[in-house]
């Protein structure tokens, strides 16, 4: 019997139908992948299963019994729990307490000895090692996820929803998460696995459900699915999964040269040449300090050793203003924190870094020019929004990414740094972002891309610089680079096998 059944579930917000007549049936002990573009209704589906939203129509059955789920607590009492891309842990509490904080079966008093013992047991069941006394604030994202999964396990979870769990993980952490998913499956837990990374789905899933525009499109055993067919189902048309780059890239003169660049205690010895029209990808595990190199180049946390040369001239960059005067732009990883003012409209976000060019009479901002400029980018980058006065916070992740890109393109950069440009972005938008990056390179912009998504690195890069623990582990030409080689360099020989 199905452990969880959704029958004819519909949900609308105002005039928008998020889910239409959705059917979904989850079997115990299966890993069931759900794929769909952003806006396809995955989030709404999760929120209905976890009690955040209630369906307008339709029924939910848990082990054959019709239920209503009105809150996260009720979902938990039915054995349904979820973990998300950003782990939800309590930084001030330790691992064990994080696991048991909301466990009602534990009684009124804290039996610390028992809590630590049980926590250690749960962690062990997942096949990982983690000190249960450690404070959650010191854990990596992957470890925090492990804590969340252990928490779900402690609540006798029957259905665990994993929503984009690997979006922020490095290759060997992904491998570990997938093995955790398999461990859960072996214990009879049904795992609902939601990811934009199709390769992971083919590695781990038993069945795949595709949804599009709030509707159920197909549910098939993984053996009957091909990547192309799946993508076609998702977008309703055939697209290239990854942009195909032009055969030969114009390699002009060196625009940017780093000589032994370092920041004491963070990273050191970064040396490379970057030409106009070239795409250099930074690969490595999370924590390899790739972003710190970008932050040093952009002057946010300046380098303390080595040299930066632009057009052969040594320069000092100690602030973003200086970086921008050298025509360097940085499209950051954290759209919310460093990139965008979510409460401001699209046009104000795009013009933010280049207001100086938009001054009209009396030094006031020329509103018309600002709107026209923004409108140009809306069309060029296909930002999905009725007009440029829409608040950025209301756009989907992929479109937010495009707004941020437009902001930096308007500064007319010669050196453009992308930090995880497609993190949390769906397949369709991902291909668009890749095309834009390649087009920029064609126009002669020197591009640096930091990416943890190996297929993306392979698709975009002319050369791959691999970092390991703050050091440059090697540079590979794309002709000689394979995913295995990159992983081996990134993880060091000792861990070479883990993710391969």
């Amino acid at each position: 019997m199905s452990v969880l059944d959704l029958r004819h579930v519909s949900k609308s917000f105002a005039a928008t139908a998020a889910l239409k007549d959705m059917d979904l049936s989850i079997e115990p002990g299966e890993i069931h992948a759900i794929v769909g573009e952003n806006g396809a209704g995955k989030s709404t589906l999760i929120k209905i299963m976890t009690g955040v939203h209630q369906p307008d129509q339709g029924q939910i059955f848990v082990a054959g019994v019709a239920v209503t789920i009105r809150s996260t607590q009720e979902a938990q009492s039915h054995g349904i729990a979820a973990i998300y891309q950003e782990p939800m842990v309590f930084p001030d509490l330790d691992v064990a307490e994080n696991i048991f904080i909301s466990n009602r079966a534990q009684g009124a008093f804290m039996n610390w000895k028992q809590i630590y013992a049980q926590a250690a047991d749960l962690i062990a069941q997942l096949g990982v090692t983690l000190d249960v006394h450690r404070a959650a604030s010191g854990l990596t994202l992957a470890e925090q996820q492990t804590v969340e999964i252990a928490r779900a396990l402690s609540l006798n979870v029957k259905v665990l929803i994993m929503d984009e769990p690997t979006a922020s993980l490095s290759a060997h952490e992904v491998a570990r998460l997938l093995s955790i998913a398999r461990a859960l499956k072996a214990k009879g837990v049904a795992v609902i696995y939601i990811s934009h990374r199709l390769d992971e789905i083919f590695q781990v899933a038993d069945r795949v459900t595709v949804i599009r525009d709030g509707q159920h499109i197909s549910t098939k055993p993984i053996a009957q699915v091909t990547p192309d067919g799946m993508v076609k189902d998702m977008v309703g048309r055939a697209i290239d999964t990854f942009a195909v780059k032009s055969a030969a890239n114009p390699h002009g003169d060196s625009v940017l040269r780093l000589e032994g660049l370092g920041r004491s205690g963070v990273f050191s010895g970064i040396t490379f040449d970057l030409s106009a029209g070239e795409v250099l990808c930074f690969a490595g595990l999370v924590g390899a300090r790739r972003t710190d190199v970008a932050l040093a180049l952009f002057g946010i946390s300046p380098a303390t050793e080595g040299r930066i040369l632009i057009d052969g001239q040594a320069v000092t960059i100690t602030s973003p203003q200086q970086a921008m005067s050298h025509k360097i732009a940085y499209v950051s990883e954290d759209r919310r924190k460093m990139g965008l003012a979510l409460s401001l409209p699209i046009f104000a976000n795009i013009s933010l870094a280049s207001l100086g060019k938009l001054l009209g009479a009396f030094g006031l901002i020329d509103r018309k020019a600002e709107a026209a400029m923004a409108e140009g980018y809306r069309k060029q980058l296909a930002i999905k929004s009725p007009h440029v006065g829409v608040e950025v916070g209301k756009l989907s992740g992929g479109n937010q990414q495009k707004v941020m890109l437009a902001k930096w393109l308007e500064t007319k950069p010669r050196i453009l740094i992308f930090d995880e440009p497609t993190r949390g972005v769906d397949v369709g938008a991902k291909a668009e972002v890749h095309n834009i990056i390649r087009a920029l390179a064609q126009e002669g912009v020197a591009v640096l891309v930091i990416s943890s998504d190996l297929p993306e690195v392979m698709a975009l890069a002319d050369r791959v610089l691999v970092m390991r623990e703050g050091r440059q582990a090697g540079i590979l030409d794309i002709a000689e680079a394979t995913q295995e080689k990159v992983i081996r360099l990134a993880a060091g020989s000792a861990h070479g096998q883990v993710a391969a």
Partner: protein, 331 residues
């Protein structure tokens, strides 16, 4: 044990700071290390400690209660007035009434913060003024005097619980300490109380983990009000005469005691041992400055202000260097 390490260090540092303060003033003020000074400081701290305990709970949930000064005043006045009409009430019933009134006033804050979604700093700043105005209006400028209070309450501040090495420990001091000990035990042993840390540490995660975060915040404010009620009763006993300015400025003192005691103003961490030492430290400085001839006593508030800023600065710098993941949620 790694779990306790930073906190333990902090308590030791606080204790050293307290000893250094006492040592310093003993060189400055004649006859400082006397049993009279001990009684003066401990009984003064006994008024503040319960509200500091309540404030600590609220701060741990990432909120703040600025209204407690007014709550203390209202509770002291209302309880005093009520006792005038019912002098034969059992002391325990009196305590229940005082804490009940305070709890009710805290509940008003709690409802507005937890379910009205109004920031606590705004809500309690509003009720700070509201409760005080209510007291002014209600009392009609009449003062509660010792004459209208039952004898046991008038005698309470002088009552000795026990003596230790020639130092007298008053009953009020024991009462205040009991409130801290009870809350301290609850925070380490009681599952429900652990949720206070969870909610303050990461409110979003608390909701995701199935914790009723609104209820936790509400209860924190009710407790804060109830502890302010207890403080109001001790205040009533200690001073006997209650005017409309009773308890004014206690919010500053309680916040000082709490942050100096190592409760993170960002929520999620802190201990009752820290709060007790922080409270004693604040009151030691406060009472010593009154006696110190070199410095005008009008500097007392300024010094409290500086203490708060210094403590929070140390806290921020420490947590930054520890690299906590604060503010990383929300995606």
């Amino acid at each position: 044990m790694t779990r306790l390490h930073p906190q333990t260090l902090r308590i030791i540092a606080l204790f050293v700071a307290l000893l250094a303060t006492i040592l310093f003033f003993s060189t400055q003020i004649d006859n400082y290390l006397s049993s009279r000074m001990f009684t003066r400081i401990t009984t003064s701290a006994a008024v503040i400690l319960p509200i500091a305990v309540g404030q600590a709970i609220v701060v741990m949930t990432r909120n703040i209660d600025l209204s407690i000064g007014s709550t203390v005043g209202v509770v002291a006045y209302l309880t005093g007035e009520f006792l005038g009409g019912h002098p034969d009430l059992h002391p325990l019933a009196v305590a229940m009434i005082a804490m009940g009134i305070g709890g009710l006033m805290g509940a008003i804050n709690g409802v507005l913060v937890a379910w009205g979604r109004v920031p606590s700093i705004i809500v309690t700043l509003g009720t700070l003024a509201l409760y005080r105005s209510f007291l002014v209006q209600y009392s009609d400028a009449k003062t509660i005097t010792t004459a209208s209070l039952p004898q046991w309450l008038v005698d309470l501040p002088q009552a000795n619980a026990f003596s230790l090495f020639g130092l007298d420990v008053r009953v009020t001091v024991v009462l205040a300490l009991l409130s801290a000990v009870a809350m301290g035990l609850a925070l380490t042993r009681l599952r429900a109380a652990r949720r206070i840390y969870a909610v303050g540490s990461n409110p979003d995660a608390a909701v995701m983990a199935g914790i009723n975060a609104g209820m936790v915040v509400f209860v924190a404010f009710v407790l804060s009000g109830a502890f302010a009620g207890l403080s109001g009763l001790i205040f009533l006993a200690k001073f006997g005469n209650i005017t409309v300015v009773a308890g004014m400025g206690f919010e500053l003192k309680s916040v000082a005691a709490v942050v100096v005691g190592g409760v993170s103003i960002l929520g999620g961490s802190g201990s009752m041992i820290g709060v007790v030492i922080g409270c004693v430290l604040v009151d030691t400085i406060d009472n010593s400055l009154t006696r110190w001839e070199l410095v005008s006593e009008f500097w007392r508030d300024a010094l409290l202000g500086m203490l708060i800023m210094a403590a929070v600065t140390v806290d921020t710098v420490m947590s930054r260097s520890l690299g906590r993941l604060g503010g990383k949620g929300g995606a």
